[in-house]
Symmetry: C2
């Protein structure tokens, strides 16, 4: 086949555009501690629940064109540095796989499309204030979209992992485990679906978005604020002391992390997978709470210590335990990532009452109907006994709103071309 053979058609077609969406995931067995910083290989397996994209998703459009002069990226309306190392890892890996795939098909194959530059545009449908790990959805969406643009199929979670560790879990819907793996090159450190999103329809999720009542000032805090404004910086600004192998001299938790990885997590993963498969809510809930607490304990045991839980988080934790105690069974669970916002798991039947409990103990004066976003929640009345058993003084205006959601599917291709974030000129549309 000559170089100017039947692939010349393909060359013109390659000015293509693909838009995809990807979900946020919430770990219930937490990932922290890396054995390889560069490849993002964890020291323990983890397990997450994929949240529904009706409420929380990243949308990414990737365009390739012979006319593009360089790779470019826009995140939430702002152009960012394409040379970010983890972004480069993902681009390089996808292009390498695409090349490999074509070489297998035909070693003489023209790979011109692959040498085209890409324009990437990505937005989240949830505010940064929600404190959710946007980098996971962001890198999952990027890798999924790039793969579609370059015609790469198959296992992509190991590539997403190299963008942001937890991004590999956002490559699947439902209940997803990220298997630790054993190989040095990380090829077996992959995400795998444990159960699909349809498995446990009664399971419901509430994101309690805590008010940012106190703005830190000064240079150090200023930087901390700025890291929240972009996906790339967010990855840079990630609490490395928590998610990272900590220098032994700096922190005694290295031992504890090792211990956790070797002795605690393997059993917890087993128990958690069994709980998910059996839809055993109370086991699922208790393991989630314990693992969240252990994560935050680890952060506190670093030096200097890191606090993600605020007094509002503490109060949410107390409310959950007292609510469960009132009923003599575990009906509600919390989990917290690197921030004060709670992610609550409960069963559909308990949602109205627990939301009412939150409204009662965290009254919001100004927000009214907008307090609940997402899946509708009916009003209900709390018994005096329940209020008394919880018995905490209400904290006003400390929770901004609740996102009511459920378990959802993995990344999707958006077929409707009007949804592309890039115009035919390859530049971000003004509306975004």
């Amino acid at each position: 086949m000559s170089k100017n053979g039947n692939m010349s058609d393909d060359n013109t077609v390659k000015t293509s555009m693909v838009t995809c969406t990807a979900p946020v995931n919430i770990a219930v067995i937490k990932y922290w501690g890396k054995r390889n910083e560069e490849l993002i290989l964890p020291i323990n397996s983890s397990l997450s629940v994929t949240l529904h994209q009706d409420q929380l998703k990243t949308t990414t459009t990737v365009a390739t064109s012979r006319s593009f002069e360089e790779d470019r990226i826009w995140l939430n309306g702002k152009e960012e540095d394409i040379n970010h190392p983890r972004l480069q890892s993902c681009l390089r890996e996808i292009r390498r796989l695409a090349r490999k795939r074509r070489n297998i098909t035909n070693s003489d194959f023209d790979v011109a499309g692959l040498s085209y530059k890409v324009h990437i545009c990505s937005i989240n449908n949830f505010p940064t204030a929600a404190g959710l790990a946007s980098s996971a959805a962001g890198f999952a969406c990027l890798v999924y979209t790039l793969a579609h643009v370059f015609g790469v199929e198959g296992e992509l979670s190991a590539i997403a992992r190299q963008g942001s560790g937890s991004a590999c879990r956002s490559m699947y819907g439902g209940f997803v485990q990220w298997i630790l793996g054993e190989q040095e090159d990380g090829k077996d450190s992959l995400a795998q679906q444990v159960e699909p999103e349809s498995h446990w329809p009664e399971l419901r999720i509430l994101v309690l978005v805590v008010s940012a009542d106190r703005k830190p000032i000064g240079s150090t805090s200023g930087m901390q604020t700025s890291v929240k404004t972009s996906l790339l910086l967010k990855v840079h600004g990630k609490p490395q002391h928590c998610y990272t192998s900590i220098p032994q001299s700096k922190c005694l938790i290295t031992h504890a992390l090792q211990h956790r990885a070797e002795c605690v997590v393997p059993k917890r993963m087993e128990d958690m997978i069994e709980a998910v498969c059996k839809k055993d809510f109370s086991t699922f809930a208790e393991l989630s709470m314990k693992d969240s607490n252990q994560f935050h304990a680890t952060c506190l045991d670093t030096y200097p210590p890191i606090f993600y839980l605020s007094s509002v988080s503490h109060q949410i934790i107390n409310v959950v335990h007292r609510y469960n105690k009132h009923y003599g069974e575990t009906r509600v669970a919390y989990t917290f990532d690197a921030g004060p916002n709670a992610v609550i798991f409960t069963l559909e039947q308990h949602v109205p009452e627990f939301v009412q409990v939150i409204k009662h103990f965290f009254p919001s004066e100004s927000n009214g109907a907008k307090f609940i976003k997402g899946i509708q929640v009916n009003d209900t009345i709390l018994s005096e006994e329940l209020k008394q058993d919880i018995g905490l003084e209400p904290m006003s205006n400390q929770i901004s709103y609740i996102i009511s959601t459920k378990v959802g599917p993995g990344p999707r291709v958006v077929e409707d071309c009007s949804q592309h974030l890039l115009g035919s000129d390859g530049m971000p549309k003004k509306t975004h």
Copy 2:
């Protein structure tokens, strides 16, 4: 020697009264986890600093008289149940030692004085709000006073330990270690002075008393409030899940505690003792902070989790780390026990500035000159650079006051009879 021999004089003398004082101690290597609940044997050694009694002390008067019909105890003006098991342990042990001692001297010896009932009256010179471990000073003072009443000499810390573990460390001044011990009967689980109070005169201590801004209500919280009101209840109400061997089924930290006890503490004790001996402030400070953080991490990793650190505590921790960072050396350390109040260690030369830092970042609107209690602290002016480097938004009215103190001596007999807390009728004086 007949029963009515020359000891009859002694019998009349035995209507005696002794008043002693004992200090509070603050652990810098924390004690938690027991290997024997009954004897209060710890799973790791610990090390504390004895605070000066000019600022913080318990005073106890013990009277014995043939006319007393039963053992009785008054704590901070209120009669309490003498049958509290740990109180009984101390009384029984002291009486046993006294009897043994007399039997050695003369096996025919009349021990009538020992069969007399005791009246005990005890007060603290610091408010419960200070959140300091009053049970340590309380039991140390009780044992020390009983020993003087019954003429018992020698090692008393193993008896105080049976009242409240950390009480054994309040039996000595200066820097005190509580040695874990190996024996099953706990005879070698003793406190020992590492250095006397005169060893490090530059070392200064500030107790930052955090405001109780939020009163929990309801039955559970109500109980928690009531346990703070008496020494006995305080011992009962102690966070057993933290200081105690935790049921394996309930809490994964058991492993972590064991690990800490075996792998972390032995080295830390060695390093801490060396730092104290050498007066190496930065090592002393860093070990103190790390050990405090590890303690609170453990509390968070219990199930359900326990929070002692409030947002104010977090802010104090941040201020300390940023203050040290500004100077590029560790000038100030914090440690926290089972509550939000901070105990700060620093050197005399840094006290005025650090107090000014606290006044700046925790302004108190109403308290003025009374903000500092105890050893006088001179005013000073903070540089703008320092304020900017700390760079946190001030939290108003969150610290009630500061107790300014230093390392102090162990228990003392009060020679001035007018200081007895019991009148000649053996009943508490009205003034107390």
